[in-house]
């Protein structure tokens, strides 16, 4: 999936200055009774969590029955809570995988000059590949990895969710890494922090806030593709896993509106619960990672966080984690010393003196001078020449390495493209490629219309909401929850309406796509409008500007940047949503709309892997090209001209 969410920056809101949350953390004056009560609640919740895990885990690797992997799930309402739990667990595991992936990939891209040049464009492409592309390519591998167990399907499903979450998180982490404040990086080097220490003391804290926001967005994106991930239709097979997504899919194809209604209710409850119990406390907590010169003026409150802070959970966690951290740190040090000793370098006689250090510890991490006799007092001249020689040979090595690295990659890339074209020619013929491009233009037209119409509707509304702080304080959180609610759960109702009014899916699919992606435009515009400075608004009033003039001279330019951010997200999301919007099953029938999304979905279901490949490549080309040709110039324009300082 997607540029569903390209990097998403948290909407910035201005709040009244007040005491920060930090004080709570050291709040020792809380009444003992409150603390005990908090402890009880926290312990109860933890027990419940572990209990749920213990209950769910055995089912996950249940053996496959004699009938093979089920292709349907029961739509018994009594199963719904259990399904919801299963879906949440899947989501959580996928998110964890995404986090690990994010850290590894982001670090590799940011720290290695060569890898960065390759990994970031690759990420751009991965982001524009629809979820079904990943699924059809890998599902057989997953099934083969865990023969005879449902774990294979489970893994495929988690992987599918992962592909709908990871990319924007990685982008966000990468961007944080590359924009770390210079002086903090220098401080870390000067203090000789090890890579491990730097990761935890600088890299992660510095990226925390944007990363958290992207986690939230990712989970929203994951929900949207839940149906596709839990009811996997690949190669004439359908593999169904118990989950709320597959429940909706099943109920939808049976046309059972009542059950879908129930599923929606449960889903809303899940989204709200996660928001209150996970995101609210995390975002409030993450405020401490905001880099500001002065006391923060924003206050984020979370009842759950306060509860946790009142309890002793903090202390317990510290007591548990601290020894582990110490052990890791000591091991690291032992390794580092061993390494610098084996490299046989001479160390400076005096370093930064630390009472307990062995003298080796004063060396900068990892690297060592190669003994070349430079220290036997032959004078500075020799030394200088040695250093110069080493510098030159290093530059040469670096150049040679670059040539080898990029040469090999370039050849591999060209070879890959040639192979792709050859196999297209061999199997489907190039006419298939042109056909896919044609369909791509149809989907492109849908996306374009969708963006224009959504903008026309939501920009004015968003501005009205955003400029009225009373309304926006109520509406903004609501919109954010709506954005993470999987819109395709309500598809059956919309389809019912389409059927009644005889609306063709060729047009109707635009509405389906919009249901999932319009919110990004709305809440970005709200955020943009609410940050228009008051004095500018007062200026327009004092000059007696007409309404139109006010919009033209102040409001539209001021929200332009936010609209672009929302537009990028919405457009990327719409492309990926096309695979679930251009083909839908409803009431026993399968409705299709001509388009690239439908093409990919059909090819996946029939197992025509060459067509899937063509479809995915064409979609990636479209998304990346549009991003480069339209959105990035718009973004640059916004940054240059329309920043409200």
């Amino acid at each position: 999936m997607a540029s569903f969410l390209k990097m998403f920056e948290p909407p910035r809101r201005l709040f009244v200055p007040a005491q920060t949350q930090e004080t709570d953390e050291r709040d020792t004056k809380t009444k003992p009774a409150v603390r005990v009560l908090s402890d009880c609640v926290v312990v109860a919740v933890l027990l419940a969590l572990f209990g749920a895990l213990a209950y769910l885990l055995p089912a996950i690797d249940a053996p496959i029955g004699p009938a093979g992997i089920p292709s349907t799930v029961s739509t018994d309402l009594r199963d719904l809570p259990y399904y919801a739990l299963r879906s949440v667990l899947r989501m959580a595991i996928a998110l964890l995988c995404s986090l690990v992936f994010t850290f590894v990939y982001g670090l590799a891209a940011a720290r290695s000059r060569r890898l960065g040049k390759v990994l970031i464009p690759v990420l751009d492409v991965l982001q524009s590949v629809p979820i079904l592309g990943f699924l059809s390519a890998t599902v057989t591998i997953w099934l083969a990895l865990f023969p005879g167990s449902m774990l294979g399907v489970e893994a495929a499903s988690v992987f599918a969710i992962f592909t709908s979450q990871a990319w924007n998180m990685t982008f966000s982490f990468y961007r944080s890494l590359t924009s770390e404040p210079t002086e903090l990086v220098e401080a870390a080097k000067n203090l000789h922090l090890s890579a491990w220490q730097r990761f935890w003391k600088l890299d992660v804290p510095n990226s925390m806030i944007p990363l958290l926001w992207n986690c939230m967005m990712s989970v929203g994106g994951g929900w949207f593709f839940l149906t596709a991930s839990e009811m996997i239709s690949v190669g004439n097979h359908t593999y169904a896993l118990p989950g709320i997504g597959s429940f909706v899919e099943q109920a939808g194809s049976e046309g059972d509106m009542g059950k879908i209604g129930w599923a929606i209710a449960v889903m809303i409850a899940v989204v709200l619960l996660i928001d209150v119990c996970v995101w609210k406390p995390l975002t409030a907590w993450a405020e401490k990672f905001r880099i500001t010169q002065s006391e923060s003026e924003t206050v984020k409150k979370s009842a759950v966080l306060t509860l946790i802070r009142h309890s002793h959970l903090n202390d317990v966690l510290f007591a548990l984690i601290r020894p582990v951290g110490d052990v890791i740190a000591q091991t690291w040090h032992a390794l580092k010393n061993a390494f610098s000793r084996t490299s046989g370098s001479r160390r400076p006689a005096v370093g930064v003196r630390t009472a307990s250090t062995v003298d080796g510890e004063v060396r900068p991490a990892g690297r060592a001078v190669h003994g070349d006799g430079s220290d036997d007092a032959n004078g500075a001249h020799d030394l200088e020449e040695g250093v110069d020689r080493r510098r030159k040979s290093r530059a040469r090595r670096r150049m040679a390495g670059d040539i080898a690295f990029f040469g090999v990659l370039g050849i591999a890339f060209v070879w890959g493209v040639v192979q792709l074209l050859l196999s297209i020619g061999r199997t489907t013929g190039f006419s298939e490629l042109w056909r896919a491009f044609g369909l791509g233009f149809i989907t492109f037209a849908r996306v374009a219309v969708l963006i224009v119409v959504c903008s026309l509707i939501w920009v004015p509304l968003g501005v009205i909401i955003g400029m009225n702080s009373k309304i926006s304080s109520v509406v903004q959180p609501l919109v954010q929850v709506l954005a993470s609610f999987p819109a395709n759960f309500v598809f059956p109702f919309v389809l019912m309406w389409f059927a009644a009014w005889h609306v063709s899916l060729d047009f109707g699919s635009m509405l389906l796509m919009a249901l999932g992606t319009q919110w990004y435009i709305l809440f970005n515009v709200i955020a943009g409008a609410s940050s228009i400075p008051d004095d500018l608004v007062e200026m327009t009033k004092s000059l007696h500007m007409s309404v139109w003039m006010r919009w033209k001279t102040l409001i539209l330019p001021a929200v332009f940047g936010s609209w672009v951010t929302g537009g990028i997200t919405a457009a990327g999301g719409a492309w990926n949503a096309s695979i679930v919007s251009e083909i839908v099953r409803y009431n026993g029938k399968t409705l299709t709309a001509k388009g690239l999304g439908c093409y990919i979905a059909e090819a996946t279901a029939k197992g025509e892997s060459m067509k899937v490949l063509i479809g995915v490549v064409v979609m990636a080309v479209f998304v990346v090209a549009l991003d480069r040709a339209v959105w990035q110039p718009l973004q640059r324009l916004a940054d240059r001209r329309f920043v409200v300082a």
Partner: protein, 527 residues
């Protein structure tokens, strides 16, 4: 300390021989640092700098902004690798961050998410000091710098002065051989800065801090004289040592004593580069400013302009118009680029400097980054003094630091509205005239001065007059500048020129369309 003071520090050539005597903590030999501009030119930031830091001494690196002071500090700290030359710590060449250095930053560089205690402990943690030991020593350092009671505060809850105390405690706790301070007090208000300066000096004098030497980078002359045993003055474009001054005043130093003020005045003189006696501070040596050699002949300017033109023609906008104008500029020997060529051409640079020394301002390297309004204000202030003003008095009257004052002085000298001799500034006849002029008249006067003395402004004006429509793309000029300057600097030079031209109503610039147009005076221009 006397030992250090009597050493002949100026003879950098002998540095190599000193190696191995044991009390040099850090030795830099012939260090240069350059980078490659967008146009592929080598731009030198630091040029052939040799500098030692010895035990028991405080060294200040003084220079105006852009002289590469901070880069030099980072090279010595092992954070930036020199392009050529070596830096050694205790005789061992650096291959990474210098193990004997603890750094105090201008912007504090505290981890915002760690409290004071954790920030101070960070360096110890990196060295694998056990938790209890860490705690004990951090508390000691926190006590020493007067942060008692703030252990669990987060940086954002602290004032600037307190934050810098944390920065200092974080360095102190490591008991480094060399404490490096990068403009440590310049982000603080005057009183806090003075207070903290005294406390650092107190710690240094107390001697139980475990620090063996201090290197402080500053653009504040008084600060340098107050703190240092030795002041190393860096010149700009490229950064190189132009003077070294011993400061032999007894401590604690009285800022109002005559010796102190003399020392400050002397450094002002060195920094403004206007003294007849060159490095009067008695440094001589091979690192002082080159002797006045031949100023650049006119022919070379034309050649350089021609080079610039070819760059423009091959650049991103080879429109026929651009080429034509650039060619014309070249054929006219216009010094659009000639004025700035010193950046990468060291000899040219010296020529430029010397020309300035000689009182001619024609070849002055770059437009100083000042607004005409600010310059007018300075002239007004100077004119209020009957006999002209000492730069140091001027700076303290205006609460300016060197970085604020010197660009204005440069601009004033360049435009011929003031003269500086031995750190003493007086308004010229033209300056007085400008001072007395009304608003419109003052603009006309400024326009005339800029046309006479600011080559970039003149070149833009002439090119515009020669172009058929009276308008040109700004990119053309930025491109020409970029051939000789780093990208950022080229942009800045251009925007200064535009600002001056606008003020003088010579030409106007539409940033949206990137179009320069002649100010034809349709809006009433006073004549």
């Amino acid at each position: 300390m006397a030992d250090t003071l009597t050493r002949d520090l100026n003879d950098t050539g002998r540095k190599a021989a000193e190696k191995g005597t044991g009390d040099a903590i850090i030795e830099a030999n012939h260090v240069s640092r350059s980078f490659i501009s967008d146009k592929g030119n080598h731009l030198t930031v630091l040029d052939d700098i040799s500098l030692d830091l010895h035990e028991r001494e405080v060294v200040a690196i003084l220079g105006r902004s852009g002289a590469g002071k901070s880069t030099l500090l980072r090279v010595l700290a092992g954070l930036v690798e020199p392009t050529s030359g070596t830096v050694a710590y205790r005789g061992v060449p650096l291959t990474g961050a210098n193990p004997g250095v603890a750094l105090v930053f201008q912007t504090f560089a505290l981890m915002p998410w760690l409290d004071v205690q954790a920030n101070v402990e960070l360096g110890l943690e990196a060295r694998g000091v056990p938790r209890d030991e860490r705690r004990r020593r951090a508390l000691k350092a926190i006590d020493a710098i007067g942060l008692d009671g703030f252990e669990s505060a987060y940086p954002k809850e602290l004032s600037g002065g307190m934050k810098q105390r944390v920065g200092i405690a974080r360095a102190l706790v490591l008991e480094p051989d060399a404490l490096f301070m990068d403009e440590p007090f310049s982000a603080l208000d005057v009183l806090t800065a003075e207070n903290l300066r005294q406390e650092v000096l107190g710690l240094w004098k107390g001697g139980d801090s475990g620090i063996k030497s201090i290197l402080i980078v500053t653009h504040n002359i008084e600060e340098a004289v107050q703190m240092a045993d030795r002041v190393v003055v860096l010149g700009s474009h490229p950064g190189r040592i132009i003077a070294e001054e011993q400061v032999n005043l007894p401590r604690p130093r009285n800022k109002h004593s005559e010796e102190f003020e003399n020392e400050v005045d002397r450094l002002y003189t060195v920094l403004t580069g206007q003294s007849d006696s060159g490095g009067e501070g008695g440094t001589g040596g091979d690192n002082t400013q080159g002797a006045a050699s031949a100023a650049q002949p006119d022919g070379s300017q034309a050649a350089v302009a021609g080079h610039g033109a070819s760059v423009a023609a091959g650049g991103s906008t080879p429109s026929s118009q651009a080429r034509q104008v650039a060619d014309e500029a070249a054929s006219q020997g216009s010094d659009l680029v000639g004025g700035v060529n010193g950046q990468s051409d060291r000899d040219g640079e010296k020529g430029g400097e010397d020309a300035r020394d000689g009182g001619g301002h024609e070849d002055l390297v770059q437009l100083p980054d000042v607004s005409p309004g600010g310059l007018k204000g300075l002239i007004d202030v100077i004119c209020e003094y009957r006999e002209g003003a000492d730069l140091s008095d001027l700076a303290s009257d205006l609460s300016f630091e060197v970085d604020d004052l010197l660009p204005l002085i440069d601009a004033g000298s360049m435009l011929g509205v003031l003269e500086v001799h031995d750190g003493h500034a007086t308004a010229t006849q033209q300056g007085l005239q400008w001072h007395k002029a009304g608003i419109l008249e003052s603009k006309t006067l400024f326009a005339q001065l800029a046309m006479d003395h600011a080559s970039l402004v003149r070149s833009i004006d002439q090119a515009l007059r020669r172009s058929p429509e009276g308008s040109l793309r700004g990119e053309l000029f930025i491109d020409l500048l970029r051939g000789r300057l780093p990208d950022v600097e080229a942009q800045r030079q251009f925007s200064i020129a535009v600002n001056w031209g606008r003020y003088g109503e010579l030409f106007d610039y539409d940033a949206d369309d990137d179009v320069l147009t002649l100010d034809t005076g349709e809006d009433e221009q006073s004549d």
